[in-house]
Subunit: 379 residues, 2 copies
């Protein structure tokens, strides 16, 4: 480990020529201001939400490696059709990494900053794929004694997203919820929250194997969208749970519409009066991912009381305000080794993160594969 | 005109066998309770929102007329594929007609009811395609002296829907709006409201002729979705107005997605910073009609801050509460002969409404054709 005055930082650049370039640059560590600290980053996960910025719309089949072992460079082609969507970031060398954890090695002059010296903290705020990170106190979450950076690396994105789903459910007046791509790391975390909080959860997965993963951790309602009985199974699970809100990671194709149609069918099983506008129970699907990039296709058989929309963590946290957000973060710290435990299949250095063999695995966003970067591990 | 003790009422029945039957039945007029009145219905419009109940999913190419001149009967076939959606109303003879106007001919014992004797009132509450209607005071809206039933027949559905759009726009924090199928009776009314209230309105129409209709009444932003320059024209109009909410009567196909994509493009024209999640400005499309019954197709090029959902007048009025609703109704009464004036192409009796030649015209929901029924006109 170095002295912290400078360190490597991962950068993603998409050039106007249509080439993606991922590289490591040596950057000076900014001096901490009064309410800031410098953290030696020791663990930072590769989340699906990081991949958008890391690889953009590049075609991963065109990946080429160059550079040296200590300073590798990855290049890949961005298809011409995808370039307009990249317009906002062209020719800007962008740091990557939403969250991470590490040890405070230097602080600003405020008492609150000084109090963190030597502490292990979780961090949010971008540019975490780096050896050192100077950031504000409010972007740090001090971890309990005995917690390692690896254990605290994923304190924000998945835990707050999962809590954001149950909170949104409550705030919008629903009593049970649906989740798709439900065997993911996030999905398993959501199951643990719902089991603990007594919230009925309908899990939709895309294979029998993933259904088994969830049943093993205690999930009660698991529906396989590849089964011939899917729509019937889903309607039954919705009738049993009364779920009228769904969080969907898939995004494209017919799934969101199927969920709304089956919710309406479940509601009408107990309806007493005919309404030509369908039930007056509001049915909501929030799309928070794009595992399927095709258009969303919504038929019109579920009445008029429905909504489909995008959902993101940051606007949700802005909406609930800092006091409510702090409560959610405290719960994450309190239950970090149980409800909010994350599991990683591999720990890599910054250099290893740029190895095409690793890139090919984590860029697939496959359920069950999760990488953790330790930027201070020797590459 | 009769003595009001009984009168004809239009009924729509879909039989389990798959046959639609529309007929006229003679029903006794219920005695008014303390807070009720009996109204002789003299004008009741055929709105698009009435047609769903009136003809259901029947195939209008299979219409047959039978019965007598005074008591005609219409039958038509409901396609088998559409029967499941009719399950809730099978074998129930249903009265039709959301709104209307007429003269109070009998009242309940309360002072408030007695005060309406002889007054011309607008009415909401269903079963208006009838010669007499007993209803509660709160379902009546007394009209200003000198207002005819024909002038007051459409006080609720179109005026409150149009006001509901501008109110929803304000309540959800938008400053301008988009409307589709914009040359309709409702669309012209919305233009008059927006011109009067200084609200920028983007009108989307499906022909040059309809664009001309709107320009003639003073509409500033009119975009023709059949023009080759549609997407560019729409983006420009959205950038000029800043509209980030749309009310869509079409519902099926690509239009809702096109509106969201063009809103995002308009927002990004002035964006200062790259966000891989798209702009953080919420973009909303409310679907309130189904002129196109195909699925809604939403591509994913407009970021994460978006919503698409159903919108109906009744839940909106419930949400804002009776006091706010009363303000909107008073505005309708005050501006009934200007902003909220409706125009009809034909006035028919109940019997004439069951003439296949008339049915063929109004069941098409064509812009520019609007029928008014006078149930007390001699058939």
């Amino acid at each position: 480990m170095g002295d912290g005055k400078s360190g490597l930082q991962l950068r993603s650049l998409i050039k106007g020529s249509g080439e993606l370039e991922i590289s490591l640059v040596d950057v000076p560590t900014p001096e901490p201001a009064e309410d800031e600290v410098v953290v030696r980053v020791e663990a930072t996960p590769i989340n699906p939400s990081d991949l958008g910025l890391l690889v953009g719309a590049a075609d991963m089949r065109t990946v080429k490696a160059s550079g040296t072992r200590q300073s590798p460079v990855i290049t890949a082609k961005v298809p011409e059709v995808a370039m307009p969507a990249m317009a906002g970031r062209l020719d800007q060398s962008m740091p990557v990494g939403n969250e991470g954890a590490g040890v405070v090695i230097k602080t600003g002059s405020s008492d609150a900053a000084k109090a963190l010296m030597g502490r292990t903290v979780a961090m949010i705020g971008g540019a975490m794929y780096a050896q050192y990170r100077t950031l504000k106190l409010r972007e740090c979450l001090p971890l309990a004694a005995g917690t390692t950076p690896a254990e605290g690396a994923s304190c924000f994105v998945n835990p707050l997203t999962a809590l954001g789903m149950t909170e949104t459910m409550r705030r919008e007046g629903h009593k049970a919820l649906v989740h798709t791509a439900a065997a993911s790391n996030l999905g398993q975390m959501l199951n643990r929250i719902c089991l603990k909080d007594g919230i009925p959860l309908v899990n939709i997965v895309r294979s029998k194997e993933r259904a088994d993963i969830l049943r093993k951790i205690g999930a009660k309602h698991v529906v396989d969208s590849t089964a011939p009985t899917f729509l019937n199974d889903l309607s039954n699970a919705l009738a049993e749970t009364g779920a009228t809100i769904a969080f969907d990671a898939i995004g494209g194709g017919k799934l969101a519409g199927d969920i709304l149609s089956c919710m309406e069918a479940a509601i009408n099983k107990t309806a007493k009066e005919y309404s030509r506008y369908g039930s007056n129970v509001h049915k909501q699907v929030y799309v928070y991912g794009s595992l399927d990039t095709r258009p969303i296709e919504l038929p019109r058989g579920f009445g008029m009381a429905w909504g489909v929309g995008g959902w993101l963590l940051s606007p949700f946290l802005q909406k609930i305000g800092p006091a409510e957000g702090a409560k959610l973060r405290q719960r994450v710290v309190d239950e970090l080794k149980t409800t909010f435990a994350s599991h990683y299949t591999r720990v890599v250095s910054l250099q290893e993160a740029l190895d095409p063999a690793n890139l090919a695995v984590y860029a697939k966003r496959a359920t069950g594969e999760k990488f953790l970067i330790n930027p201070n591990k020797n590459g």
